[in-house]
Symmetry: C2
Subunit: 223 residues, 2 copies
DNA sequence: TTGAATTATGATATAATGTTCATAATTAAT
DNA sequence: ATTAATTATGAACATTATATCATAATTCAA
């Protein structure tokens, strides 16, 4: 159940959106003015803000700035027309998306869900076979069981996950984890880490299925 | 320098976009058909895909599915008109955004940058005062200098960052980090960790400005 | 098949982490 | 002011992490 703050002063739109969004399993709370919006954001927790650009007491950009400076809430602008929203300044202010009125309700839902997914409010979990990494918590698990990865093992796993499909050279991996080209850490250190990580995440560490060796080039995980 | 795969078969658009995006410091590579696109994605690394919905050899949705099943690349659809893109199926397929032709170049740039920011391909960095956390790399820094956080310290910091503005009770924190309600780890363990984390991230650990004690309730960081 | 290069493994010293204890400092209420 | 509760600190300890060495196994090419 995600909770949405609707900053809007047009009663018809308010009623329509509250009715529609409630059906879609969202909890909606309305603020009609800038101050009300900012106060609500300060005193309650929301998952997303729908923000009308043109409010009776001023434009929504100021509200967006205020919200973004206080929270990490995603903001979707509602605009009277596509042109009203300057994407350049809008996105610069930290807006996550915008939608022009009149919009089809289903499009609004899609955009809301999309933004929630992208901003990770619903959790940003990445999967690699049966290994799951939760970058929000900073943890990893295999088949639902917690993996106890050290800081370096975790970072090494992240590098592979964020470069799925690509062969990672030893140099690239060393740079990613140790920030240097291999002059200061022993070249074998990486090999040892690969081994240790494999021992924790692979079903059969001797025949790795996740982190594969690409002889002469480096290592890779399939996409 | 982000690398973009442009899947488009109209030569005029290709030329325009390559010229414009190159000026904006993007590296652009073009694929004219479905197979070319999928092959490129498999053999090269990109940061984002711009995907025309209507290609000569079929519609772009199939390409989107193929890309998303193989990679975690963000995809922005280019559509001839707003209606052509079904936001419902489009977003369900994993599309990250879409833009209807004709679009203003600056809007395209804004949307590209926005998606890159949201999907974290440019790094999903969260800031807490002068402390930055990069959950893509699994690292943290203060004033640009690397912090060497242990696995538990890093996770504790993430809990605070993901709950900015809220008071976190000792029980909640213990549950977040140790997955238990405090029965198995000593109650003081958390206190010691708070102290150690403060020593690494606070300017003056004796007078913490980031992680504040809320006596009787727990700890909180401001939003 | 042999040899050189690459990758894997096992063992080890050192440093850091994780947990607990004992004790001090702080705060709020009586 | 005294007391009780809460939070902070310092130090001790067992455990784990980290980096390196030596050595083994593997692969590829001559």
């Amino acid at each position: 159940m995600n909770k949405i703050l609707l900053v809007e002063d047009d009663n018809e739109i308010i009623d329509n959106l509250i009715e529609f969004l409630s059906k879609e399993e969202f909890i909606v709370k309305n603020a009609k003015g800038q101050n009300a919006a900012i106060e609500l954001v300060e005193n309650e927790t929301f998952d997303l803000v729908l923000l009308d650009v043109s409010l009776a007491d001023g434009n929504g950009f100021a509200v967006c700035s205020a919200i973004k400076s206080k929270t990490c809430l995603p903001v979707i602008f509602l605009t009277a027309s596509g042109d009203e929203f300057s994407t350049v300044t809008g996105f610069d202010l930290g807006a996550d998306d915008y939608i022009a009125k009149p919009f089809r309700p289903r499009e609004l839902i899609s955009r809301i869900k999309n933004v929630l997914r992208l901003t990770g409010t619903t959790g940003s979990i990445t999967q690699l076979g049966d290994v799951m990494v939760d970058t929000v918590k900073g943890t990893a698990s295999k088949k639902g069981k917690d993996l106890f990865l050290s800081a370096l093992e975790y970072r090494l796993l992240l590098v592979f996950i964020n470069n799925r499909g690509a062969v990672m050279t030893r140099t690239k991996l060393l740079e990613s984890i140790w920030d240097i080209a291999g002059d200061f850490v022993n070249d074998n250190t990486l090999t040892v880490y690969i081994k240790r990580l494999r021992e924790k995440i692979e079903d059969d560490p001797q025949n790795p299925e996740i982190i594969k060796t690409v002889r002469g080039l480096g290592y890779k995980v399939d996409a």
